[in-house]
């Protein structure tokens, strides 16, 4: 397995071998990111392809500042955002049921209670816009002001969507926890 440095140099020469190595080394990591931004696996794999095409043809944009995986991650997130904008259709009409989740109780969760797959499933149940905001704010660490710019929405919208997303997640996780039966009821 080549080092990142060798892989980057190879990719700069458009070496097919280096590209394959890059894929072998990082495709799983990047697909993990894409999964969070996609409705399903097929969409995630489509995004993954776009990510690699962008990486292969824009590798010179990686200046060496910061870690290489960090740069790949940024490319993946940006590609996912592009994909989100492209796929957005009639999403501003959200079923009223989505709003019925009032803030109930105060909850914290045991760290190992849920698997990553379960969390992903819960995340995927959010409306697409909420999922985007939650991903960008909670996991990627963007500021609401930045998210507003990225998603072309109001700062307050980002904030309110985020708080609703969080409330919905909390409710869903509570339900899931009850189903699992380990911690019956809320605290």
């Amino acid at each position: 397995m080549l080092s990142d440095r060798d892989i980057i140099e190879g990719c700069l020469r458009h070496s097919r071998k280096a590209q394959q190595q890059l894929y072998d080394k990082y495709s799983r990591f990047l697909l993990g990111i894409c999964m969070r931004y996609s409705a399903d696996r097929a969409e995630a794999e489509d995004i993954l392809q776009d990510v690699f095409v962008r990486v292969f043809f824009n590798i010179e944009e990686y200046t060496g500042a910061g870690s290489f995986p960090g740069w790949l991650r940024r490319v993946a997130v940006n590609t996912a955002i592009t994909n989100y904008h492209r796929n957005m259709k009639h999403r501003h009409h959200i079923d009223i049921e989505e709003y019925r989740s009032a803030e109930t109780g105060t909850v914290s969760f045991e760290e190992d209670l849920f698997s990553a797959d379960e969390l992903l499933k819960v995340l995927n149940e959010l409306p697409p816009g909420y999922k985007m905001v939650f991903n960008l704010y909670a996991i990627e660490g963007y500021k609401h002001r930045e998210i507003a710019g990225i998603l072309n929405i109001d700062v307050n919208t980002s904030k309110s969507q985020y708080s609703r997303a969080r409330a919905m997640l909390r409710e869903k996780l509570q339900k899931l926890r009850n189903i699992k039966g380990e911690y019956p009821g809320g605290e």
């Binding site: 458009h14 392809q49 095409v53 501003h92 009223i96 698997s115 969390l119 995340l123 307050n156 919208t157």
Partner: protein, 440 residues
């Protein structure tokens, strides 16, 4: 703050789990990706890395130009022989020594000068070898060759005929053999050509083409579907059994294939602006006609239809030989898709009046009460309270109700609205209903 602590819990939960989150992509992803990368590499000239495709392309272009040059030269000298592929066919192969060109129309006459009987070429099978022999003193004759046709093995027959080639048009008239009249000597594939013999007598006529077709009779009509350079040979056998040959060369150019697809640029809002996808093959230039009088010569133009309706979009592609192909389809713009729909609930922004300006993108959270529409020109929305007071009024499609009245957020509950207006096709609409204002 206590609430912040609790919120952090969920964030941490997700952040920790997703930090090392990885998924194994399907095996097809890699293959598809590499195909895409390969395609993109191919289209992207990269001088730093010598590209095998460009080498291949250069070789192909060189090959094609060689063929073109030779087919040009072959109006004087024939090089397009196809040895041993055709039984019983005399193939004439020679190299030119002629330097003085005399005419555009070229006819090749092959005269059997040996006092020979007529049973020869018909039966002769097998390879033909050509040996150049002495120059004839006749000024009219540029070249002469000895063509020996090997008879089938074991027959014990050896035949030698001498073929002379003339370029003097006058001599053709004197020639006992008839010449060939062709409906075309050049054209685009698929090309149908009718060949006619100009002979008047009762000679026996046999036609052979360099791609192995054979026929008999005074005229023959052949379809050349594959591009290439072909030679048609006419063998004339007179009553006394004497044979004469005429030949003519035809060039069939490749034709492009026109193919395209149409897609609305943004089906979300309107399908009057369209994007075309040009899938044509072998095309050099494209000519689009959009059926509304507009045209374009771009490869993939976009187009905006001023009015909705059915349009005949056609694409004519032409290649470097002037060969063309046309494809067309009927596109229904907007397809009578005029609509306006209103939601039945919305959630005003609690932080203050927003002015109600919205776009489909900016109002994902349904903060503004507004319709979704297509093809609306005139619009007037009024929102009433249950007592009948006008709370909001808008004639601007881009401004909906933000849920505020005189700077105060209205109470959650049901409000009544009425909308009137006109679609682009002139049809008027009038809708009314109720809207639930929600607050969380």
């Amino acid at each position: 703050m206590a609430t912040n602590r609790r919120h952090k819990d969920i964030e941490d939960l997700f952040r920790d789990k997703f930090e090392e989150f990885s998924f194994e992509p399907g095996s097809g992803v890699r293959r598809e990706l590499m195909r895409r990368v390969g395609r993109k590499e191919f289209l992207r000239f990269n001088p730093a890395r010598f590209n095998i495709y460009y080498l291949t392309a250069a070789a192909a272009i060189a090959g094609i130009s060689l063929v073109l040059i030779f087919s040009d030269v072959s109006s004087r000298s024939e090089t397009d022989s196809e040895p041993s592929s055709n039984e019983g066919m005399a193939i004439i192969e020679n190299t030119t020594t002629a330097t003085d060109a005399t005419g555009d129309t070229y006819q090749e006459n092959i005269t059997d000068v040996q006092a020979a009987s007529g049973e020869v070429s018909e039966q002769s099978e097998g390879p033909v070898t050509v040996a150049k022999s002495s120059e004839q003193p006749d000024t009219r004759i540029k070249q002469s060759y000895t063509v020996s046709i090997e008879p089938p093995a074991g027959s014990g027959i050896t035949r030698i005929i001498t073929v002379t080639e003339t370029t003097d048009l006058k001599s053709l008239n004197e020639s006992p053999a008839g010449s060939i009249k062709a409906s075309a000597v050049e054209g685009c594939a698929p090309l149908m050509i009718r060949f006619q013999s100009t002979t008047e007598g009762s000679e026996k006529l046999a036609w052979t083409s360099s791609d192995g077709r054979r026929s008999e009779g005074k005229e023959v009509e052949w379809l050349f579907s594959e591009p290439g350079v072909y030679r048609i040979i006419l063998q004339v056998t007179d009553d006394s059994g004497k044979e004469d040959y005429s030949s003519i060369g035809v060039t069939v150019h490749p034709s492009p294939t026109a193919r395209f697809d149409v897609s609305p640029v943004n089906s979300n809002i309107s399908d009057r602006e369209i994007m075309v996808f040009n899938y044509s093959e072998g095309a050099l230039t494209s000519a689009w006609s959009f059926g509304d009088g507009e045209a374009s010569s771009l490869r993939e133009p976009t187009h905006v239809y001023g009015k909705s309706g059915s349009y005949n979009i056609s694409l004519t592609v032409t290649n470097e030989f002037g060969c063309s192909d046309t494809a067309s389809l009927v596109y229904s713009s907007s397809a009578g898709n005029y609509r306006i729909d209103f939601p039945n609930a919305f959630i005003p922004n609690k932080n203050g009046p927003t002015g109600g300006f919205y776009s489909p993108r900016s109002d994902e959270a349904a903060n503004v009460f507004h319709p979704e529409y297509e093809g609306v020109t005139e619009y007037h929305l009024v929102v009433y309270s249950r007592t009948g007071a006008v709370l909001f009024e808008s004639r601007n499609l881009n401004i909906g109700w933000d849920g505020y009245y005189r700077g105060q957020l209205c109470e959650p509950g049901v409000y009544v609205w009425r909308a009137r207006g006109r679609f682009e096709n002139g049809e008027e609409f009038s809708r009314s209903g109720d809207i639930t204002l929600l607050r969380f």
